[in-house]
Symmetry: C2
Subunit: 221 residues, 2 copies
């Protein structure tokens, strides 16, 4: 009965534009999202998009919010032990940003988005549940959230840097090879960890960081 239901089925809408933008971003990366490319996929003119969306920033923000919302609703961390719940949420964000690397660059441009607030609350609630005292709660929460999104963002940046064909272990072997050939007097540490760099798994390393922060939080309980 409303105007909205009377619209043609193929009419443009912000939802359709955002859905097409996500497809484009996933397929071709951040550089692939162009108003011209988007308009051509939607079989319309570039100006039509501006009727529904203020600018490219709003489009990227809406796409990020959509992806993070979908990811959060798929994460099952309900009855678990608070530490396990934090690990589950953290890994969920890591995997989401790994699958959509453009999300990693975007979220630091709009950290106040609704979906982000849900992640923030989920982490904070578990810290509360864990019994972190009032005085330590805010810093414990911000350290975790900063680490989770910082690490996931850096992982996504690595993925974006890499040539599409090559795999991660070859790239790591390259960097580790460089480290092992550094000057022994100036870079003893990097030379020593080079083999571990070559062999490590990014996801395990990320989780080890979450565990280390949880161990630090354990000292103030």
């Amino acid at each position: 009965m409303t105007k909205r239901t009377e619209r043609r089925a193929d009419a443009l809408s912000k939802e359709k534009i955002v859905a097409a933008a996500i497809l484009l971003l996933d397929a071709e990366g951040e550089g692939g999202l162009t108003f011209r490319a988007l308009a051509s996929r939607l079989a319309t003119g570039s100006g039509a998009i501006y009727w529904h969306v203020a600018d490219k920033g709003e489009l990227l923000a809406a796409a990020t919010d959509h992806v993070v919302t979908r990811a959060m609703s798929a994460i099952e961390a309900g009855g678990a032990d608070p530490r396990d719940a934090i690990r589950t949420i953290a890994l969920g964000m890591f995997d989401t940003i790994d699958a959509h690397p453009w999300v990693g660059a975007q979220f630091s441009r709009a950290p106040w988005q609704p979906a982000m607030l849900r992640v923030f609350e989920a982490i904070g609630a578990r810290l509360w549940q864990l019994g972190v005292p009032e005085g330590a709660r805010f810093n414990a929460w911000s350290t975790l959230v900063t680490y989770i999104f910082g690490a996931a963002g850096q992982n996504a940046a690595n993925a974006r840097l890499q040539a599409p064909g090559t795999d991660r272990s070859a790239a790591l072997a390259d960097i580790a090879g460089g480290w092992s050939r550094l000057d022994a007097a100036e870079y003893p540490f990097l030379r020593q960890v080079a083999p571990q760099l070559a062999a490590h798994d990014d996801r395990d390393q990320f989780l080890a960081g979450v565990d280390l922060i949880l161990a630090g939080i354990g000292t103030v309980l």
Copy 2:
């Protein structure tokens, strides 16, 4: 005697181009660095820059390397206790990226740069000195480095987001105000920390995160 010493004093060079780029980046932000603007500052044509520099990516990488190198050589963390040395290095990076926000976005695009290696080594060496056992060393190091650059980068992104005139505490008050008005059933944690968000100092919060990770590392010593 060499060709190099015979060159005119006002001749272009990569060093001069990088120095001008840093001035431009600091004055007008990442969007202000344009080959046209740079060429006009250097009183030359945009094509001349390409004789000394491959592309914009190399220019940003060189500018970042210059700034981080300068910062690292100013940091005095020599004889200090390893934990204090790590805090000093971390704060030095935080302040550097705070003063040059474009560095925060750049470093994740080129983490293998010489200056970055020096930071990596400096952190790693202190962990070694601290006696972190072999099996925990790599993860402890990567957690610290990831947190330091992730947090500093997010801080810089916040700075870039803000309108040039407004100050940080007004922006925080705004966000905190929003959080305190969230639905009480869905967002109890964010409502509860809103006052702390409004009152906190970014630099102190950053350092509290470093300390929390150091506390976590303490549990594996």
